[in-house]
């Protein structure tokens, strides 16, 4: 069932058993789980079904600290969320990502990878992926022409990615959500405040506003924030009527530990003429089902005391300069890409998209995808400017540490040595990677992955949510999405956040039973 909140009489009260705030990958994954249940579910989405500049402007924010991509272009504010322009990259976190690593301050999840596996399995079809197989050998068995480079897996191994078509949650799941009698989707319903009870032990309602000036209330037994890492933190911080620091923020953790993946080129690989066809590492958008990336073994991470990381091989023309994500994917290009997709990819793709790899190329850009160390000083705060709904805008202070810098450099050094040792080829480091001055280049780039602002920890002094994703101290408020990640590994976050959402959904079903 769908209702546009702008059509409701001002002051309406919406009631349900469960209220999910945000209809992106996390929120929709959860809502789908409840279709046909005896419980009534509210799914509140700030945007509509289409891209609207005024709605998108609500995500605009201030950038302090390291340069970052415009916030209003990094996330999409409509039904389906940022899956509206994601590229579909999926892989699993590694077991080491869940461990407490003594050389990575604040590392360690309260759950193990094995506990997430059943939910990864269930997440695969939602993202229209293949079987839950992420070993290179499995994909080589399916296609013997996929041959991994002859590297020592104790040093560098081939980690597999699967590619979603990519699933646009907005178009793919609109019909089942709208048709579900027990799931009440309200669009243009922006939650501006979580209202706690007097003792600040539970949420008793939500204030919902529309851009045309209406204000409604939503009430439920349980609430789930699924608005993305920046907006989850912003909403908790801005809900400061009863506690000046905001809800769930007794220990000043909300908004802290904002993490990205450091995604940028660090060098190039010249493949030896007798090396195997690197088809296993190639990717053609919309065609390739799976590919490998070169990943650092956990033993090397331990020995060298560095973070997790992978590199992808992107075919390059001689003399071609590799660009980072933030360089090539301008907001204008992303907008053109969305338009092109909205029209069924009719006509030529927008100029500026990466070209398909030239056949037979032996030269590859090595694009890193590196974990960022959890850092309390890297954070989302409230700015002084307010948006059209009178909410304080977000302020992003993205910061990296020396561990991030050193990990990047050691990773490329290890790669250079191992690729040379194996005879697969030789690695050339970019100028800035050769320097020892500890500085990042002007091309510093993330992967548009926002993680960690409501981190998970069993102890409320160290985490905003517990292992079930419930906000410490608030009995009926949960968080879904990558904001709960204590660490982000070196994989794109969508598969894991969908898996965690399914896990949370199971927990809430047991709780409501």
């Amino acid at each position: 069932m769908h209702i546009d909140a702008r059509t409701l009489p001002n002051g309406s009260v919406l009631e349900a058993d469960l209220c999910i705030v945000g209809a992106g990958a996390a929120g929709i994954s959860m809502a789908l789980e409840w279709i046909g249940s005896r419980h009534k579910v509210l799914l509140l989405e700030g945007g509509g079904f289409e891209y609207e500049p005024a709605m998108q402007d609500l995500y605009r924010g201030e950038i302090v600290g390291l340069p970052y991509y415009p916030l209003q272009a990094a996330r999409l504010h409509y039904f389906g969320g940022t899956t509206g322009h994601w590229a579909g990259f999926c892989s699993t976190l590694d077991p080491i990502d869940f461990e407490k690593r003594e050389w990575v301050p604040h590392s360690g999840w309260p759950i193990r990878r094995e506990e997430l596996d059943p939910f990864y399995v269930r997440a695969q079809p939602l993202l229209e992926l293949g079987p839950y197989e992420y070993a290179a050998a499995d994909w080589q068995r399916r296609d013997p022409t996929l041959v991994p480079l002859p590297l020592d897996p104790r040093v560098v191994w081939t980690k597999m990615w699967q590619f979603s078509p990519p699933t646009r949650f907005g178009s793919r799941y609109r019909d089942p959500v709208v048709a579900a009698p027990n799931v009440h989707l309200y669009t243009h319903a922006n939650v501006c405040e979580l209202e706690a009870n007097d003792s600040v032990t539970s949420i008793q309602g939500l204030r919902v506003r529309t851009l045309d000036g209406k204000e409604h209330r939503a009430r439920a037994q349980y609430y789930v924030l699924a608005c993305c890492s920046i907006q989850n933190a912003r909403l908790l911080l801005a809900s400061n009527r009863r506690t000046p620091a905001g809800l769930g923020n007794e220990h000043d953790l909300v908004g802290r530990f904002f993490m990205e993946h450091i995604e940028m080129p660090g060098g190039q690989l010249a493949l030896a003429p007798d090396a195997a066809d690197p088809k296993m590492y190639g990717m053609e958008f919309g065609v390739t089902k799976a590919r490998g990336e070169l990943a650092l073994n956990g033993a090397v991470q331990r020995e060298r005391r560095i973070l997790n990381g992978t590199v992808s091989l992107e075919a390059a023309a001689p003399g071609e300069e590799a660009k980072s994500n933030f360089q090539w994917a301008t907001p204008e290009l992303l907008a053109a890409f969305r338009e092109w997709e909205a029209h069924g990819r009719a006509g030529p793709p927008p100029a500026g998209l990466p070209e398909p790899p030239p056949p037979g190329s032996r030269l590859f850009h090595l694009l890193a995808r590196q974990e960022q160390a959890p850092n309390p000083d890297s954070r989302v705060l409230l700015g002084t400017e307010r948006d059209a709904l009178d909410m304080p805008r977000a302020k992003l202070d993205w910061r990296l540490t020396q561990l991030d810098w050193r990990s990047f450099h050691v990773f490329y050094e290890v790669l250079g040595r191992e690729l040379g040792r194996s005879g697969a080829g030789r690695v050339q480091l970019l100028d800035w990677v050769r320097r020892e001055d500890g500085t990042w280049p002007s091309t510093l780039s993330g992967g548009w992955h926002h993680l960690g602002t409501t981190r998970m920890h069993e102890n409320p002094r160290f985490g905003v949510v517990d292992a079930t994703c419930r906000v410490h101290g608030l009995g009926n408020l949960y968080v879904a999405g990558a904001s709960v990640y204590p660490t982000g590994g070196a994989v794109n976050p969508t598969l894991t956040l969908v898996a965690l959402s399914l896990r949370l959904s199971d927990h809430l079903k047991r709780t409501l039973a």
Partner: protein, 130 residues
């Protein structure tokens, strides 16, 4: 320096490297004659222009190895086998390059992560292929 000039210096080379009898017989083992040393496998990966540039930069980075004899001697001196071992059972240049990488005996020249042996070979190439 051309090949003829080098031959005139080859004895000096051996002396420079402190090598004894059998080591001076580098030319008796195909893998270690001058042609082989000055033709690094790197050529097949990077091509002659890049290898020559690497060689030039290596010579600037390591001024003590800016001459053929010094380079030749340095390569031979790093062979792990004692000189009394007959050459044919010793490691090939490819083995030495592999072992360099495995042991972390690498050097970054013009950004390329290289085995020290192949960097020296590149320097030889830059001297002898001009």
């Amino acid at each position: 320096m051309n090949r003829r000039q080098f031959l005139g210096l080859s004895a000096t080379s051996a002396l420079f490297a402190g090598l004894t009898g059998s080591a001076c017989g580098a030319g008796t083992h195909a893998a270690f004659d001058l042609d082989a040393l000055a033709r690094p496998d790197l050529l097949s990966i990077l091509g002659p222009d890049v290898v020559r540039a690497i060689g030039l930069h290596y010579r600037r980075l390591v001024p003590g190895e800016n001459q053929v004899p010094a380079l030749h001697g340095a390569i031979l001196a790093t062979r792990p086998w004692p000189s009394r071992v007959p050459w044919p059972v010793g490691p090939s240049i490819a083995d030495m390059v592999h072992d360099d990488f495995a042991a972390g005996r690498t050097i970054v020249v013009q950004g390329w992560v290289l085995s020290v042996t192949e960097a020296r070979q590149s320097a030889l190439f830059s001297l002898l292929s001009a």
